[in-house]
Amino acid sequence: MPVVLQGLLTIVIGVAGCVAYFYFSNLVLDKFIYPARGEKAGHNINRANQVRPWLFLFPAIFVLGLYLVYPVVGSVIRSFYGRDGQQFVGLSYYAELFQGGDFTTAFLNNLLWVLFVPAASTFIGLLAAQLTDKLSWGNFAKSLIFMPMAISFVGASLIWKFVYANDAGIGLINAIRAAFGFENPVDVLQIPFWNNFFLMIILVWIQTGFAMVILSAALRGIPEETIEAAILDGANPWQLFFKIKVPQIMSTIVVVWTTITILVLKVFDIVYTMTGGNFGTEILPSYMMDYFVTSKGYASAIAVVIMITVLPVMIWNIMQSRKEMR
């Protein structure tokens, strides 16, 4: 039980601390440093209002800087140092990475993930959004497809372990194969190359609901007139969908696509739980964790490679948000 108490205590201390910080820092600023009284009242109010944003922002900037900005520098530096963090090895980890072997496998697999998962999730999500749009029970169907979003990657992996199981009495895939008369059960997680796709299906299963929800809102936002006009001009349902609706929600499709891409680049749990990176299914995040304990420098070098692959998405995101702000 001390764990529970410890947890409760942190909630209280943490929350009270946060509230106290914001409350008292504002109080001190208004009452003591720049009091809104006396001959310089107006001047003081202005000064206080220049400082206040930084009081509000300080905790957020502090944790962001510490946990997300500093590590970029920290990881780059560590990737230049040896096993114990003392000996300078320069770029030799990077040279080692690109010499081939497991890193190349992980990198190429990751590329497959980045190409397949966002495409499949967005496409099926769009399909589901369109199909459920006019149904009386559409919202119910949507919540069922959306449900895997709530399930952990570990939980989802276990769920699919039951589907993929080697035993035809447990695994659905092998049961279906057996029903079609195939004699020997297959372990789909050990089929070279294709096993990657069986792992990706798990993430597609999780992410499709996300794509569907957002795209379905976008579809609802399309002005009715454009659709009515197209119908009056004799467009068939396919033309209506692909030529009228899809182009109008293209920007949302791109947002969904990039969001899922970013997620894919971080996913580690599925490979870790399903295959442990064996049978040629390694991806960069799981490959990094293999070296996390044994060689921090090597692990950092892999993390830096992941960061570099994310960079284009990051720049695109920032540009997009600046465009929207104007």
Partner: protein
């Protein structure tokens, strides 16, 4: 719009059918896990979960009695196989009709029920569907009965035994509490911090605001893999080490960009007149924030709390790195991934139950708070 010309009823049917198909595909894996978690080990290995509502053909074994009565040249033993404790133990609810029997473990269903099997050396054995047998043998069997294998249907059976074992014996209860201990502070603290920051970014005018917003958008993308090595080092240096304290900080920070981003988007959309009239009335920024902005932002705050709750509850990576690896501080995801999948790889009932215990809370949160979750997603992604 359903009545607009050009809609075809055949297409409506195709839509219904495709959606049913999609929903079934999406639901079946979870359903399998759910059903399996209530099944006994014997039943799981005897039939697939999709056959769980039906009787299972179980193969059982038992031994005949040995009190033989002389009959002509030899001896005969009669009785009912269900009287044998070993055979009966397979069928706690009473035996059902026997479909086949045999005397060798390699071929337990060699003969159909009701037929007389020739066992060689002048021995014969008949087993009827109701379990009664007649065994003839040329010599007195002494005190050793004949081994009988047989197949009989076992009624479907659901049990809570897996849950009892997972929750009591496997330290899963401890892991459950640990998960909660990680999740609750890691959900509440970032929201508070992010709400103030979001307000400043949305409604306060100061130099560098645009750059800060862009930075937050950029940080949304930073892979947290990058933070693992440097931050664990730092935690060790400042004495937090691998601890709950450390993981709270880590989750707070990793959730921060999305929190600030979502909340700022929402707060920036609040009506300007409310805020300006409050300022004219002499409200300070702090009062304005606490009295007006916070209550108005409840939907966005709820949406983000759900996100952060689901994310911290479901996390594996951060817990693996920032929590100690001893059994007392494992969270459920780590417990399942590292302990159960490794040592219990074949115990499907336990695996299913453990997974279901770990996804039960997020599912409850998800289905009760779905409206807010969707609203939050939309606030973040669509203008």
């Amino acid at each position: 719009m359903d009545n607009i010309a050009g809609q075809k009823s055949s297409l409506t049917w195709a839509t219904h059918i495709s959606v049913v198909f999609l929903v079934v595909i999406w639901l079946v894996p979870t359903l399998g896990l759910f059903v399996s978690s209530f099944r006994e080990r014997d039943q799981i290995s005897a039939s697939g979960w999709w056959e769980a509502p039906f009787a299972v053909e179980l193969t059982a074994r038992g031994r005949t009695a040995s009190d033989a009565t002389p009959d002509g040249d030899g001896f005969v033993v009669t009785g009912n196989i269900y009287d044998d404790p070993e055979a009966a133990s397979y069928f706690p609810d009473g035996g059902s009709d026997i479909t086949a029997f045999g005397t060798r473990g390699v071929n337990p269903t060699e003969f159909e029920a009701g037929t007389t099997a020739d066992l060689g050396d002048g021995e014969t054995l008949t087993v009827d569907a109701d379990g009664s047998y007649r065994w003839t043998t040329p010599e007195d069997p002494g005190d050793r009965g004949q081994r009988i294998y047989f197949a009989a249907a076992s009624p479907p059976e659901f049990t809570l035994a897996n849950y009892r074992q997972v929750l009591s014996a496997d330290n899963m209860d401890r892991a459950f509490i640990n998960t909660l201990t990680v999740t609750v502070p890691a959900t509440i603290i970032p929201i508070l911090i992010a709400a103030f920051a979001a307000y400043a970014l949305a409604w306060m005018d100061f130099p560098g605001r645009g750059v800060l917003i862009a930075a937050v958008v950029g940080l949304l993308v930073v892979p947290l893999q990058l933070a693992l090595v440097p931050m664990l080092d730092l935690h060790n240096r400042i004495g937090i080490g691998q601890s709950f304290m450390g993981i709270w900080f880590a989750h707070t920070a990793f959730g921060m960009p999305l929190a600030v981003y979502l909340l700022r988007n929402y707060m920036a959309g609040l009506p300007r007149d409310i805020i300006e009239s409050a300022k004219v009335d002499g409200a300070t920024d702090f009062e304005l924030f606490v009295r007006i902005i916070l209550p108005l932002s409840l939907p966005a705050l709820a949406a983000f709390s759900i996100f952060q709750f689901l994310w911290t509850w479901n996390d594996l990576l951060v817990a693996k790195v920032f929590l100690p690896s001893d059994d007392a501080s494992k969270v459920m995801t780590v417990k399942i991934a590292d302990d159960l999948l490794g040592s219990r790889g074949g115990d499907w009932g336990i695996l299913a139950t453990a997974a279901f215990v770990s996804i039960a809370v997020p599912l409850i949160v998800f289905f009760s708070m779905q409206r807010f979750l969707v609203r939050g997603l939309l606030a973040g992604s669509v203008k």
